[in-house]
């Protein structure tokens, strides 16, 4: 200690001595950028000393300096400037952009990398693209923006979840959802709803889109290496906005819009249609000698009242429609910072109604992101957000008679929605009037999500730093149900109510060291070692009861008969160690990435809990080679390749243990029964991915993009292997089976015009993915254990869950019977469904080809942005056709059919899509008549806007003002004309009764000052 103080004193004295001798003078000046705008926060240092200052908000600086010394001006993104002090007292500096440091920095998870240092397949989507689509959950905005990524909304209900597949399906029965990373920390997203029947609610919808800086999608083994253990399905890295040093900037974003179903969809039969079809069916069944006599009988029977009332039509599709559903958002943020701190704070409000009555989503959010230099070497940052999301949900995940969406199709048009006096028609029967129920029943779920991400980074030496991050993600969920006692299904119970709540907490601890080893200017190695621990604890509590004493009471306190109560606790833990090495050689001409991750997961037994994952990636930056660097036409040309092993552990908890479950009871007493078969050899599913690609930019980046090929082989699949049910179980999770995905991914961009006034840019991407099962378990006789449903089959040599069913041969023009091919392909036909063989129909429900296109045009302040999305090569199946789209008794008596049924056989010689009508009820028969090409194109976004001239804005004290009108999904093209539903369905590929995707027209304004 004494020595240290001694030296400091000595240095101080020397400095003093020095300054006495030298000729000191005061220098001032202003530092501006290339465009003449003042630069605040520029470091101004006297070279060779530690003395210095920085520019103020207006770019001014003042410093005392000796003649002969040199001032060094440095600022991020600008080339360093040196000025030797001579006679002048004012030194103004214009800094020049440094293209090297300005190179796009891509956040890839635990670290950020420069674009040309990346060896993997990475696509970054910035906020500007994301905000072109108005959605409750930001993942949906990725649709069409990233090659190799297919996004399909599971439901159009606001706040619902989406299916995202990055490069197809990597697993058969384990999860295929990508890993989400927010600000460097793996987080859990998905459906929080505790019900299998009501709308889904996404925890990702808790993120305010206004706060997202960018989303990066990591696709290959090298890119996902940092998350190797969970990287098989790709990684989605979300970066939130941070403050920047400088004057506090305020920003206000507002938009207000109207939505309707993007595709009108099936049109229900009118009562007049039904009368016609019903009469015909009765005649066909031989119950009446002519159609006319059948019609007369109906008009005296079930259609009498309707006829006498002047044949009114119910139009249930209109009655349950929320026309021009409102969507509005408001975001206010402030950001800025001083010398040693930055901040970004925001408030957000989002409100979206569904296109079906009684359903909607609302979100209130706030965030505060701070950084603070505690000492020059220790930086602290804290990102915090809190969100409350509320969704009015409804029964949409099957055919529920109480649901307004089901009512649209299932309710008879003879039942009118309203009485003559305008009150709700409280008719009896299987399907109650949903208009009444929407108004009198309650189904809402809410999520309170709080994420707090805190990290410290300590620069130990110039080349070594240590960091530590602690992240808490709290997801509180509450679901409340109430059914009234006056009308509907709960009348016999005198009303019922239920409430469920879940408190779900995720913790992540990370500790890491970063070390940079520089052999010379040209050779550099960056090391990272990281340790991570993640845990989840989830508590659930729920109860239900019935019998209310009076109306207007909704809570369980007031039920006469409690009917159920349940609570549970689940947890899981993940521990991991990571090592990364990036070697950049010969002035960044060659890049080598190595990674190794060891991860343990509580889903596996202790002996096989840990998995090892690694990757190697290399890039050759050809454009930096001397020969090429001189060619002006080539701005960028690089070759990259990677290979590695990633993992997947996306299975349910406690699958490895043979278990008794106790969640059952008998006769009011607790009971136990075998619940899990168990497999004490269970371990990680792994994927081996090979990637090769070229990135390029030519003619001053007039044309740029990338082309890549990948092959991913997933093996030791965590497969629900079908067991002989004589074991008492249907399946057991085993590490067995193999499948491959191969594909080509192309991203491109044309900078067609780029002048001060005119800008025109056309970009796009397309990708293919081919999926094939290459290995399945066999039984004791060596026979492959295929996994078959009534519509799909999993077998080697085919894509996962390829459609598999009997083939429809059409309607026999002579008899009017629907027929199928006996052998499933051609030749002999049969009218007996059980005689027709089920065969592969080609393709599964996952698109094999996706493409996106975007166009940006601007002239002075006016601009147009457009985005399109194409998905194809897959097939989708129409659900519920037995009840709604077959010429049988259901569509004309019990429920209701679509107008597509009017194309039916009536007499010999008719060529029709539907067979002859009958009043009989047919059993479920699933076949290729209801399987459709899923190809569609959508105009995802079209924005017309105007940026006010900045001079004008300055005068009124505004930074910038942008006004725009935006349309989403304005156009949809569907390949298969017989498909009566919106082609965008969830990845099980079956159309359901969820709300469909919407088209939106919105007006908005963005203001900064």
């Amino acid at each position: 200690m004494i020595t240290k103080r001694f030296w400091i004193t000595l240095l101080f004295c020397l400095g003093l001595f020095n300054s006495v001798l030298a000729q000191e003078k005061k220098i001032s000046g202003i530092v501006t950028d290339q465009n003449g705008l003042p630069l605040p926060g520029v470091a101004v240092i006297i070279e060779g000393t530690k003395r210095g200052t920085s520019t103020d908000f207006d770019g001014n600086y003042y410093i005392s300096v000796n003649v002969g010394q040199t001032l060094l001006f440095s600022y991020f993104g600008q080339m360093d400037e040196r000025k030797k002090i001579g006679s002048q007292n004012v030194i103004n500096v214009t800094m020049k952009e440094d293209t090297e440091t300005l190179e796009e920095v891509v956040v890839t998870g635990y670290s950020a990398q420069k674009r040309s240092d990346i060896t993997g397949s990475v696509v970054k989507v910035d906020a500007e693209k994301l905000e072109q689509v108005i959605v409750s959950s930001v993942d949906q905005a990725l649709q069409g923006n990233v090659s190799g990524v297919s996004v399909s909304a599971i439901s159009g209900t606001p706040g619902s979840t989406s299916n995202i597949r990055i490069r197809g399906i990597s697993s058969i029965t384990a999860g295929n959802e990508p890993l989400y990373v927010i600000d460097g920390v793996p987080v859990n997203n998905g459906n929080a709803s505790s019900s299998d029947n009501y709308s889904r609610i996404s925890t990702l919808a808790a993120l305010d889109q206004n706060n997202i800086e960018s989303i990066t999608v990591l696709k290959d083994a090298s890119a996902t290496a940092q998350y190797g253990a969970r990287g098989s399905n790709g990684v989605i890295v979300i970066t939130t906005k941070k403050g920047k040093q400088g004057k506090t900037k305020f920003s206000v974003n507002m938009s207000y819009g109207f939505q309707n179903d993007a595709v009108e969809g099936a049109v229900p039969l009118t009562a007049a249609n039904r009368l016609e079809l019903y009469s015909e069916a009765l005649f066909n069944d031989g119950r009446y000698p002519t159609k006319e006599s059948a019609e007369r009988a109906l008009l005296e029977g079930p259609y009498k009242e309707w006829n006498e009332a002047g044949r009114p039509e119910a139009h249930w599709d209109e009655a349950v429609r929320n026309k021009d559903a409102v969507v509005q958002q408001l975001g206010i943020s402030a950001s800025g910072g001083g010398e040693d701190h930055t901040f970004f704070g925001s408030l957000g409000y989002f409100n979206q109604e569904a296109t079906v009555i009684g359903v909607g989503f609302e979100r209130i959010s706030g965030s505060l992101n701070l950084t603070k230099d505690l000492t020059p070497k220790i930086k602290f940052s804290s990102n915090n957000s809190g969100t409350y999301s509320l969704q009015n949900a409804f029964l949409e995940r099957s055919a529920f008679f109480e649901s307004p969406r089901s009512a649209k199709f299932f309710l008879s048009p003879l039942l009118l929605p309203y009485n003559e006096d305008g009150s709700f028609n409280q008719f009896g029967g299987s399907l109650p009037n949903p208009l009444y129920l929407v108004q009198h029943n309650i189904a809402n779920q809410n999520i309170m999500r709080i994420i707090s991400n805190n990290s410290l980074n300590w620069q130990l030496t110039e080349n070594l730093s240590f960091g530590s991050t602690f992240n808490v993600d709290y997801q509180g969920y509450n679901f409340r149900l109430y059914s009234n006692r006056n009308y509907g299904y709960s009348v016999p119970n005198s009303g019922d109510a239920a409430q469920f709540s879940r408190s779900n907490v995720f913790y992540v601890f990370q500790n890491y060291f970063d070390y940079r080893l520089e052999f010379s200017e040209a050779h550099r190695m960056d090391f990272k070692v990281l340790q991570e621990y993640q845990s989840n604890r989830s508590y659930f509590l729920g109860g239900a009861g019935e019998n209310f004493a009076a109306d207007g009471l909704f809570f369980l306190d007031n039920v006469g008969t409690p009917t159920s109560v349940n609570s549970s606790f689940f947890d899981w833990y993940v521990g991991s160690y990571l090592g990364l090495l990036k070697y950049s050689a010969f002035d960044r001409k060659y890049i080598l990435d190595l990674s190794y991750r060891r991860e343990g997961n509580s889903r596996f037994p202790s002996k096989s809990r840990w998995g090892q994952f690694w990757s190697v990636g290399g890039a050759w930056n050809i454009f930096r080679e001397d020969l090429i660097a001189d060619i002006e036409e080539i701005d960028n040309l690089r070759l990259r390749a990677s290979y590695g092993v990633t993992g997947n552990a996306n299975i349910e908890l406690n699958q490895y243990q043979a278990l008794f479950g106790y969640s059952i009871d008998y006769g009011g007493e607790g009971a136990q029964s075998l619940s899990t078969f168990g497999n004490d050899n269970l371990t990680w599913e792994t994927s081996h991915t090979f990637d090769i690609g070229v990135d390029f930019g030519f003619f001053d980046n007039f044309f740029s993009g990338s082309i890549g090929y990948f092959k991913r082989t997933s093996s030791d699949l965590l497969l629900d292997v079908p067991l002989s049910q004589t074991t008492g179980f249907a399946s057991q999770v085993q590490n067995i089976g193999e499948l491959t995905n191969t594909g080509i991914e192309v991203d491109f961009n044309f900078n067609i015009v780029n002048t001060n006034n005119w800008k025109l840019n056309l970009g796009g991407n397309f990708s293919t993915v081919n999926n094939e099962v290459t290995k399945l378990p066999v039984d004791n006789n060596g026979k492959e254990r295929e996994i078959t449903t009534t519509t799909t089959n999993i077998a080697t040599g085919h894509p996962v869950r390829e459609w598999f069913m009997p083939t429809w041969a059409g309607v026999n023009p002579e008899t009017g019977n629907e027929e199928w091919f006996v052998n499933g392909v051609d030749g002999e036909t049969t009218t007996v469904f059980n005689e027709a063989e089920a065969v592969f129909q080609g393709g599964n429900a996952v698109p094999t080809f996706t493409a996106g296109l975007n166009l940006n045009f601007s002239y002075k302040g006016f601009f147009i942005n457009a985005q399109g999305y194409y998905a194809g090569g897959h097939k989708i199946y129409e659900g519920w056709h037995r009840y709604l789209n077959q010429p049988n008794g259901y569509t004309i008596t019990t429920f209701n059919g679509y107008t597509s049924l009017l194309d039916r056989w009536q007499k010999p010689g008719d060529v029709a899509r539907n067979g002859k009508f009958t009043t009989a009820f047919e059993p479920w028969e699933r076949h290729s008549k209801f399987l459709f090409d899923g190809d569609f194109f959508r105009l995802r976004a079209l924005t017309l806007g105007y940026d006010m001239p900045s001079e004008l804005m300055d005068d009124i004290g505004m930074g910038s003002v942008r006004i725009y009108v935006r349309g989403n999904n304005l156009l949809t093209w569907v390949k298969d004309e017989n498909l009566v539903f919106d082609p965008e369905v969830d990845l099980n590929g079956e159309t359901g009764l969820e709300t469909p995707p919407v088209k939106t027209v919105a007006f908005g304004v963005n203001i900064t000052f």
């Binding site: 008969t561 997961n601 908890l653 278990l659 029964s673 004589t726 037995r882």
Partner: protein, 458 residues
């Protein structure tokens, strides 16, 4: 500064240390490992209750096994109101049509755990342990019988002899068992029932909602009747009758007995309550609409002229009723609670034992008349003067209607069955013997275990 660095360093070490294999052990809160799940006799009782819960599911005795045997018979048809049971009623099932295969084998897995438990290693009353193992064995016999009568080839045209795989251990050596022959399965059933009867002690039988000692004999009689083992049926029935524990319910109480738990005629029934019921999938909801007009499910409708079967004063006529403005004949009073489905479902009634006894007596030359008239006397029906086989079957039909016996009575006596469509229209006949009388083995089983041979015709 030094302090900070030390504490940081310590923190790092702590966290690194925290990441060991053991620290990643998950908590088992709602479940227990199979080893920890059986430590005393009481646990065996817990598994036994769990086994009853499996039986009470809608896919098994809660609905499907009973209703399938009614809609495929001349008692009922499916009107298709909610699309349920029309596939079965119209004999259109295929290998994708789910039936009790998974439920019954799941039941077997659980009861085999009880039977396989080493009693002496468990705490608690050993006698009670033996009794529980006996109860489990009765259920094992029941599951094998259910599988055999649904999937066995005893009534198929091709004259097959295949029964179903016999499973007597949980997670045993052979996870891909073959189908045993009909005779082997039958022998295993009788064997289990005899052993079980010997192991059980009525002092441990405290509830009618848990399988009891005399269920072993009642089931034995039922199986024996099915296969025409008349002597065995005779003696087994007599044991139940001689126990003196049960009686025929009187005419006045008959209809109401379907609402109350554990009346005198009930030997064994499945428990349902306000807190534990099948909701919309309850058997009551398939037999009728919740109100008079079409609504809910209510697919299973009674053949219109069936009401003629009963005499005017027969109390069993009151089980029937009409819905939809008097146009649809219905089972209104067996399993009556349509609101929540809280009625217990009797699986063994004393009346069935008497009818089995009467039939066995008839076949062996005994006095069937007296037994048969015990039934009619308690139903307000005229007594028989003479007895034919047809009389016995007719009385069975009248007494056990809607309880899932009719299909087996038709097939075991080799009768043809008329197929009715959703409008009660005739769709032809299933002529005995027929491949349609054996259900297809589920495709999932065939896919997973190629040792199992599919029934002919599927």
């Amino acid at each position: 500064m030094k302090k900070i660095s030390y504490s940081l360093f310590t923190l790092v070490l702590l966290l690194l240390g925290a990441c060991s294999t053991d620290s990643l052990d998950p908590t088992l809160s709602q479940s227990r490992s199979v080893e920890d799940g059986i430590v005393n006799v009481d646990n065996l009782h817990g598994i036994l209750k769990g086994a009853h819960n499996i039986m009470s599911a809608a896919g098994y005795y809660g609905r499907d096994l009973i209703v399938n045997n009614e809609v495929r018979s001349d008692n009922c048809f499916s009107n298709g109101n909610s699309g349920r049971f029309s596939t079965q009623a119209e004999y259109l099932y295929n290998e994708n049509t789910d039936y009790i295969w998974n439920n019954a084998y799941n039941l077997l897995a659980n009861v085999n755990v009880i039977i396989g438990a080493n009693l002496s290693s468990l705490d608690g009353n050993q006698e009670q342990g033996r009794h529980i193992q006996g109860q489990a064995m009765v259920l094992r016999a029941l599951a094998h019988y259910d599988l055999l009568r649904v999937f066995g080839q005893q009534h198929t045209k091709s004259g097959g002899s295949l029964g179903v795989p016999i499973v007597t251990t949980f997670n045993g050596d052979d996870l891909f068992p073959k189908r045993s022959s009909i005779d082997e399965v039958k022998a295993a059933i009788y064997d289990d029932l005899e052993t079980a009867y010997g192991m059980m002690d009525t002092s441990f039988d405290t509830s009618k909602t848990i399988v009891s000692k005399y269920v072993a004999k009642a089931l034995e009689a039922r199986v024996a009747i099915y296969f025409g083992d008349w002597d065995r049926a005779l003696t087994a029935s007599e044991v139940v009758i001689d126990s003196g524990m049960y009686g025929i319910i009187g005419a006045d109480a008959f209809v109401n007995s379907w609402t109350g738990p554990g009346t005198v005629n009930v030997i064994f029934e499945l428990a349902y309550s306000n807190a534990d019921n099948l909701g919309p999938d309850a058997i009551s909801n398939i037999y009728r609409f919740p109100g008079d007009a079409p609504g809910g499910y209510g697919d299973v409708q009674v053949v219109s002229d069936l009401i003629e079967l009963y005499e005017e004063n027969d109390v069993r006529r009151d089980i029937l009723g009409y819905q939809d403005s008097g146009t649809r004949l219905r089972n209104m009073k067996k399993y009556p609670d349509t609101a929540t489905g809280t009625d217990n479902i009797p699986l063994f009634r004393y009346e069935e034992v008497i009818l089995n006894y009467a039939e066995a007596l008839f076949e062996t030359g005994g006095n069937a008349l007296a037994q048969l008239n015990l039934i009619t006397a308690n139903r307000g029906a005229s007594a028989y003067v003479t007895v034919t086989k047809e009389d016995i079957l007719k009385e069975r039909r009248k007494e056990l209607m809607f309880e899932g016996f009719r299909f087996d009575d038709l097939t075991r006596t080799g009768m043809d069955i008329e197929i009715l469509g959703s409008l009660e229209n005739s769709l032809g006949k299933v002529e005995y013997p027929s491949n349609l009388l054996a259900y297809p083995i589920p495709l999932s089983e065939i896919n997973a275990n190629s040792n199992v041979v599919q029934n002919a015709g599927y």
